[in-house]
Amino acid sequence: MPDLAGQNVIFTICSRNYLPYAQTLVSSLQEHMPGAVILLFLADEGEVGAIESYMGVPAIKAEELRIPTYYDMAMRYNVTEFNTSIKPYVFRWLFDRGVLSAVYIDPDIQVFRPLTEVYSALNEEGANAVVTPHITRPLDMDKKPSELRILQTGVYNLGFLALAASEASIAFVDWWLTFMPADCRADLKAGIFVDQKYVDLLPSYVPGTKILRHAGYNVAYWNLAHRPLCNESVGWTACGEPLVFMHFSGIRPYEEKTVSAHQNRLSYDDLGEGQQLFEQYKERLRHGYRRLEECKISKDYAYGCFSDGAAIEGPIRKLYAQALPPRSLSYEEAFDPDLAHYSAPAADLRHKNRTLISNVMYDVWRRKGHLRKTFDLNKPADAEAFALWFAKAGYEEWKISKRHIPKDVWSLVKQRQSLRFKMSEIYFVLARRVKAVSFLFPKPVRRWGVRFNRAVLPRIAGRGK
């Protein structure tokens, strides 16, 4: 680890699945800004030594930042939310170590020129912060992403942020930090979008915030419609300005002709010359993944699984986040697959069959209108029917592990599969279908028939065994 005091540090944050992206970023930085101090913060578990030699820069595990609710956040958030929630803590950590300035760059960025405008803003103009807006010209409301959607997620893109270690910036980071334990989620209805939306208030709270509208910065799917890419004699340009960095957000390295998974405004053909940039970037990523395999580094996100290795699927994280407050936990506590809450009977139900409905099942039901329409879980009979359907098919449909279905349901299923039960089912169906039955067999006879079935059929079934 180099001595960071007095340095201008550039850093990125990723989990193991994004290491090839981060590596591409790092080598582009090393190529265009030789001598820059670059750090990787790993929002994941793993062997740091191997990762450092793969990356070619020092790597620091986010766990070492001493985030009070680190494992709680790792469980609470999905991989994107979690990676972004680390960012303010890294800024704080770097400022504590006396850096002059810190620049964050998303791993899915490739740099083509030194960040001259950023450092001249920080050093010469005395700016405390530099941000890049998503767009500098209006888009429209018809295609994805619309202007409104960008407004909901934040005016400035947090794939890039430069902060000088000034009092105002540090105060901002300390404020920003306080939202990370619980509110670094993508929840547009509540007006929250990961760490990014908070930065809408940066120009208000930090004097000397430079809003960098240079067309060569942070070129990505949200502004490519205004910034055509050209390969000119001076190098790549965007809308005629020298291209400083491309943000390949939503790119798919193994897909043909995808500009970004998050948009539908531009087709691959619209990129024109820019296609070359996308192709070379995808090739670098694919190469990076091959090297990752050679270096025997897993590309699986460690916090994507419970402590026993079972994948965390479906609504589990949301359920955890809604029911439990941020706490300071150990890894084992946070990633306990048998956390009672998941399969405990739903707290909102008040009848004898509530033991058939676990919190996970209840959560699925509550969020899906058509399930609420079909089953009224406040009625015991419906709750039973829902539980049976869930054990048969529902859990697969909603990607819920079987372990979150209560034991009572499985014994009920077993009971329902017994021969006796099947026979009586057939009997009732017949009775309903064949109208003549009620005429041929009046009620006393039918009642006797039921008694006979109950008494004799189990014996017949037993004899078979």
């Binding site: 202007e147 209805k189 120009p203 941020p326 706490r327």
Partner: protein, 796 residues
Amino acid sequence: MTTAYFTIASANYLAYVRTLHASLIAAQPDAVFYLFLVDEVRDSQIAEAMPFPVVEARDVAIPCFFDMAYRYSIMELNTAIKPFCIEHLMDAHGHDRVVYLDPDIFVVNALTSVQAAFDEGAELVLTPHALAPLNDGRHPDDRAIMQTGAYNLGFGAFSNAPEVRQLLRWWAEHLRTRCVVDLANGLFVDQKFMDYAPALVGATKILRDPGYNAAYWNLHERNIVYTEQKGWQANDFPLAFFHFSGVDPKDPSVFSRHQNRHTIKTIGPLADLHRTYLGQLAANATLGADSVDHLRYAYGHHTDGTPILEAMRFVYRRVFPEPQDHSFEEIFTFHPGLFNTISEDWREEDDRITRLMQQVWSMRSDLKAHFDLMRKGDRSAYIDWFVRQAPQEHSLPPSLYEFLPCSDKPDDIRSGAAGPVDHARNESVELYGYLKTESGVGEGARGLLQALKTAGVATHTVTLEPPDFDNTVSIEKVVDEDGQNSHRVAILHVNADRTTELVNAHCPSLEGQYRIGYWAWELPQFPSAWLPATDCVHEIWCPSRFVASSIKHVTSKPVRVVPHAVEAGGGSGARARQSLGVDETTKVILTTFDTRSYLARKNPHAALRAFQSAFPSPQRANTILIMKSHGPVHTEEAKRFFSEVASAEGVVSLHSVMAPTELDDLYTAADVFLSLHRSEGFGLSLARSMAEGKPVVATNWSGNVDFMSGENSVLIDYTLSDVPEGNYPYAEGQHWAQPNIEHAAEKLHWLMAKKERREQLGQAAAQSAVQQLSPSRVGWMARQRLGEVFSATSGS
């Protein structure tokens, strides 16, 4: 270079506009000022009487103006025409610089910084709401600002430059249909769109001069003072203008209705400016003999006089997402069919839900919680509600509900009224309560049952299931051995809000019984919404004199104080310490709360603050604070609080429902119990800690002072303050205590310093708990009263 100042208002705001104009002219005598009037006053003399040009909004060339006038509420429409007015001033009047000021702004000094910014090359000048975070837990906070827009659009200065014109056209296009308050979809009138301004206009100046747009949202970082030499100053800059948003001209004691951070008492010298402003508003409120604030809004009614309700505007918006280019008469003619059409959302499920019904339902969270329209039964129940209640609650014209089917259920509330008592019944008691539920109410009911048994009162119990989810009271009534109800007195141990429902559910069996309601409530005034419940009972018991005084104000029925019975639980402190990993020498301070009964009331924030300031280094003091809590944590407030707790040193958060024995252990393990509540109906957890022989540190106000005094506890000073809206149900006009945190910290420190002090106080606490709150004492009190009731109802 000519600069125009303008505002936009409807006629009901003329007093504000005249005040703004007068203040602007006083500060800048040569200022050119316009009013854009979102109203129609053609025949009256109003426009001529104003000392400034008045432009009626319909005369500004706004495409589809009447569509906007119907689509939007008065507030939305007033904001929606802003870019159109700016362009009108630039094009039709030739102004190069246009400054918008909200009508509720009061100019104090000339706006020189704006002109200076323009002269330095700015093309657009905006003011941020605040220059420092708003994260003290009050409203509005940073999150609210993020949702409504970083820059306050009560002020905006625009120059006639190409990028600005482009921005204005873009803005205007959005405001034709999207100038609404819809936070869930990221919209907030015209203001939210301007978050984009610094991105779209390169020469945007974010004006950070504290003298500009000072208002309730930035007073936390602005010190506003008056001196003879310099006049009004904000953080040592001249105060250019103050934005009196949320002012109430009729109530001078209100500083701003939209917030709960500042009051007229806390704003210091600014109160003088506020008084001056109100005085000018009053002086400007009359025009000849008429008062201007009663002028009827021209776009608030259909042509036939039927009022346009908010829900109608919403229906219109949904049916016509695109602007309609029609005349005033076409758009403002009342068409019941527009609202009575079967709702598109439910067309496939139900042909009875109209667009208006769907709209009313979706606008009211109480209705959404009560009726799940996905279910058929709930739809029918909702239709019933709509026919009975909506006409009054929403002042609907008959043509919007008369045709609906309606069931003929009797009005069932009156049938539950407390009637004559059958004196032939036994002198015994039937106790209805949540006897098997882990909650405060359940614990209270169990305590009363034990007290009655101890006192030898013949008691029969009816266990109720808590009504958390299902809104009907589920009945699990055990029939008597003799098969009929023979008890003369029924004690209904549920709060007033559930009493009517309970009585209706048990109506036949409660007939002829003397009914006693056992009610708690946490604020000084009893909610008027619960008054019908007093009709259902003969008498009311409550746990403290605090509750009794609030109920006595609203009923003439007898009100008796019968406290909750508590006794030591016999838990093992060592066991709890072991499971928490806390050794014997560590001093434990315990505080408990249920997030369901509102964080603001239980006030664990204050407990945390007091702990932190008493023990800056908890490890060295060998002291920890245990916060035991349960309940849902999905509110923003709860999340923020828990994340703060998680990173606080020396604080252990236990968030779970504990078994009774575990809870007993925890209470025994504590050395001190801390409760800096803002109010308590009784304070069951405090009483319980006292019974365990623990010293309690608590606010010296509300129900707990019945059994706490300086001799048996540590009581903390407080000041009374208004209950902010949203912090508690029925908060309006109520007050509660703000405990003094420094005092609490000082007392905590004092108490934790010496073991003898704690032991001495703990013994005194245990002694008074036995004397005042033990089951035998409470049982004796209950039996005394029941004896009086039995003899009064014996019929002889």
